[in-house]
């Protein structure tokens, strides 16, 4: 970073600073995540985040922008996404409107030219007017390049886009510049912090992978998940928190189609809170299982083992207050 240019990335001085800063805005980072962010800044490379849905891939980008107080430019990828939607588009309507309005003015201007080539010459001198930045509708990629203090550019679910689009991204991601044929090359004043996420719908190309730092965010361990739920649902009691996290972790080990991710744990914690549960018991779990599991067959798999799993989850409570408080339904 050039020290004379004031960028929004300045708080990111060290890996610990990043972990702490993300913690402030409620994102519980790990060493791997912070390292990747730190390197992304140091090496000027985008981060490609892979991992199951709902483990906080998108959230990382949003938390970064909240912490650094930078704009987030989000580009949601889908099949058929093209340059026009991602980079820029000409404001055709406005161009058309202006030509209509200026029609008379134009004929006036051209009027004094006595032959065709002279009027053409006159006309071509105005042409650039209509293809200038005034008529340029900038889309997320271009907008990200134009930020003065830098920005967080989130390219979400890149695996859903077409291959052509992936190839098109290469220029943007390696040089932080975009080329608009009519205007020229626009280079980012301060390169954005780029975060790409992928759910592995398809294998990404090697060229793209080579340009990115690779970060895999998997399901969190017990401690981190507790910290995350604590940050998201501050009202939840410590005892319930540790029990419900234990339960979710054991559900993840079971043989099911869609394993619950952090977002589901958080939803579930909120649900239990609404029901005024202060400890896990089988009845509550049975009634709210559909918050955690999204497939009928998964619910069917878990239900028979529910009693045992709940008791185990309750048993792992470190405080040892297991037997007294709640009835042991099995």
């Amino acid at each position: 970073m050039g020290s004379n240019v004031k960028t929004g990335y300045e708080p990111m001085t060290s890996i610990d600073a990043i972990t702490a800063g993300l913690g402030e805005v409620g994102y519980i980072s790990t060493r791997e995540i912070s390292t990747a962010v730190f390197l992304a800044l140091g090496l000027r490379k985008p981060i490609l985040i892979e991992g199951p849905a709902g483990v906080g891939k998108t959230d990382l980008a949003q938390s970064l922008s909240r912490w650094l107080d930078l704009p987030t430019l989000r580009l949601q990828c889908y099949e058929g996404l093209d340059e026009g939607k991602a980079l820029y588009e000409w404001k055709y309507g406005k161009q058309l409107l202006y030509t209509q309005i200026l029609k008379e003015k134009l004929s006036e201007l051209i009027g004094d030219a006595d032959n065709l080539s002279a009027s053409l010459g006159k006309l071509s001198s105005f042409e650039d007017l209509f293809f200038s930045e005034q008529f340029l509708e900038s889309r997320p990629l271009l907008t990200a390049m134009q930020q003065d203090r830098g920005s967080v550019l989130l390219i979400d679910e890149i695996d859903k886009s077409d291959e052509e689009f992936e190839a098109f991204l290469l220029e943007v991601l390696s040089d932080y510049q975009v080329t608009v044929p009519e205007i020229g090359t626009i280079t980012a004043k301060v390169p954005p912090l780029v975060i790409l996420t992928s759910n592995n719908v398809r294998e990404l190309g090697d060229a793209l992978k080579r340009r990115c730092l690779h970060l895999y965010i998997g399901f969190p361990d017990h401690e981190r998940e507790r910290a995350i739920v604590r940050a998201r649902v501050p009202d939840v009691e410590t005892q319930l928190l540790s029990q419900l996290v234990s339960f979710v972790q054991s559900v993840r080990d079971a043989d099911i189609k869609k394993r619950p991710s952090i977002s589901e744990t958080v939803d579930w914690a909120k649900t239990l809170l609404l029901l005024h549960a202060n400890a896990l018991d089988e009845k509550f779990v049975r009634e709210t299982l559909n918050v955690l599991l999204k497939h009928e067959s998964d619910i069917a798999t878990i239900k028979p083992k529910l009693g045992l799993m709940v008791r185990e989850a309750v048993g792992t409570d470190a405080k040892g207050r297991k037997a007294s408080g709640y009835p042991d339904i099995s």
Partner: protein, 445 residues
């Protein structure tokens, strides 16, 4: 330390982690950024830069531990490096004995490290070279002198000489073990990947019929690899092309806001078919071995071809997919052979079973793969049914374990079936199988 990084990258490459020059430069910049001091930090940083998938990350982490565990020996006492070098250059028997006698493990490890570098240990490729390189290391350290001394002590024929010799033998054994350990470690880092590649290369051209059950694990890994390769190639979204007929309705809708002036033109697009495969496998006697590989490959291709229906037959034909869902692959294979593998092969009967019960599966986007030798025990070949299948399906591919020269010999009906097949080819190695499936999937591109 730059050298360490280059070597580490080489080790990664030999373990099939593709590291481009650009990434190597990034790695160097990363090291400059985070330094060598904090190993866990360096590990996660390099993993970020060099590994591009969870699999590669595993390989990276394992290699990192192996590699830098060794490196720590040479760097831990870098301060007295010059000192050590002096000692090394005068690698006489005396200093070696002294060194070994001192029992200073760090010094010994350093000396071994130095000798290893001098003997070019990092070039190790195969496990059979371990012994050679450990000898080289000992030689570098002055092992010949030690040998001389030992002989001298033995020839003295005195009790002191005997004692001395005993001590020296002990030392030599100790040193040999350490050198071997060191060479083995280097092999793990640099050689294992390449050996694996060599074996895979060999296995993919080995006749499928000669695989033993003991090779199954390797085969499974290899088939996974092939499946991945095919998946990468064919899971590419089929690109829509901007040409064809003008789609007037969509064009008008798209430009309604622009006063109907057609700035954005929409074209009619043809939807690409998704592959659908119906695999029909002869599981009698000799062919059953091949079936295993085809089914394994098809089952691994789930991502690209979600729509696979497999059938097995010898006398009668029946679906087998449900077993793959219910049990492990090996168990399912056993069950298939048990259920369908008995009885004399009848292609005619099996075709008519398929025709009767499962004709609905065959439509214009289906590829029918028949794996079998076409030996029909002189029964009615029912080419009429095959003709009907071929007419209805997108393509009909016949894979046979027998070479061209055997087609039509004895009870083989292959020449009769040949005219109805889009493709009929012998499959005897994994490579053939990969090529055949590649061709099949390419038809959907």
């Amino acid at each position: 330390m730059e050298r360490a990084l280059t070597n580490f990258i080489r080790a990664l490459r030999s373990s099939e982690v593709r590291v481009s020059t650009g990434e190597a430069l990034d790695a160097a910049r990363t090291v400059a950024l985070v330094g060598y001091g904090d190993r866990p930090l360096l590990k996660s940083s390099l993993a970020c830069v060099l590994a591009k998938s969870p699999d590669e990350k595993d390989v990276h982490d394992k290699l990192f531990d192996l590699f830098f565990a060794r490196q720590s020996h040479s760097s831990s006492s870098q301060t007295d490096d010059s000192n050590a070098e002096d000692k090394e250059s005068a690698a006489s028997a005396e200093s070696l004995v002294e060194l070994l006698e001192s029992g200073d493990d760090t010094a010994i490890a350093m000396a071994i490290e130095q000798a290893a570098e001098q003997s070019g240990l990092d070039d190790i490729r195969f496990s059979t070279q371990v012994a050679y390189y450990s000898q080289q290391i000992i030689k570098q350290m002055g092992g010949e002198g030690l040998q001389q001394k030992l002989l001298g002590a033995l020839q003295a024929h005195t009790p002191e000489g005997e004692a001395e010799a005993g001590k020296l033998i002990e030392m030599r054994r100790d040193l040999t073990m350490k050198a071997r350990e060191r060479a083995q470690q280097s092999f793990e880092v640099f050689g294992r990947g390449e050996t694996q590649q060599f074996r895979d290369e060999f296995a993919s051209t080995k006749p499928l019929s000669s695989f033993e059950m003991a090779d199954m694990d390797r085969m499974r890994a290899l088939i996974q690899k092939i499946a991945k390769r095919l998946a990468v190639k064919h899971s590419r979204r089929r690109s829509k092309r901007n040409r064809g007929q003008l789609d007037i309705r969509r064009t008008m809708r798209a430009n309604a806001g622009l006063d109907g002036v057609p700035f954005n033109v929409a074209w009619r697009q043809k939807k690409k078919d998704k592959p659908k495969i119906v695999a029909i496998c002869d599981v009698s006697g000799s062919v059953s071995r091949y079936v295993r590989f085809l089914l394994m490959l098809l089952n691994s291709l789930n991502d690209v071809v979600p729509d696979i229906h497999s059938f097995a037959f010898s006398a009668r034909l029946g679906p087998v997919d449900q077993w793959f869902d219910e049990m492990t692959f090996e168990k399912a294979m056993g069950k298939i052979i048990h259920e369908y593998g008995l009885g004399s092969t009848s292609y005619g009967q099996s075709f008519s079973d398929l025709h009767m019960n499962h004709m609905g599966l065959i439509d214009r986007r289906t590829t029918i793969i028949i794996l079998g030798d076409g030996r029909n025990n002189y029964g009615d070949p029912r080419t009429d049914l095959l003709q009907e299948f071929a007419a209805r399906a997108k393509q009909l591919v016949w894979l046979t374990p027998e070479g061209y020269s055997l087609w039509g010999t004895g009870d083989s009906e292959l020449p009769k079936y040949y005219p109805y097949c889009t493709q009929m080819s012998p499959v005897s190695t994994l490579r053939d199988l990969e090529r055949a499936v590649d061709v099949i999937l390419s038809a959907y591109a």
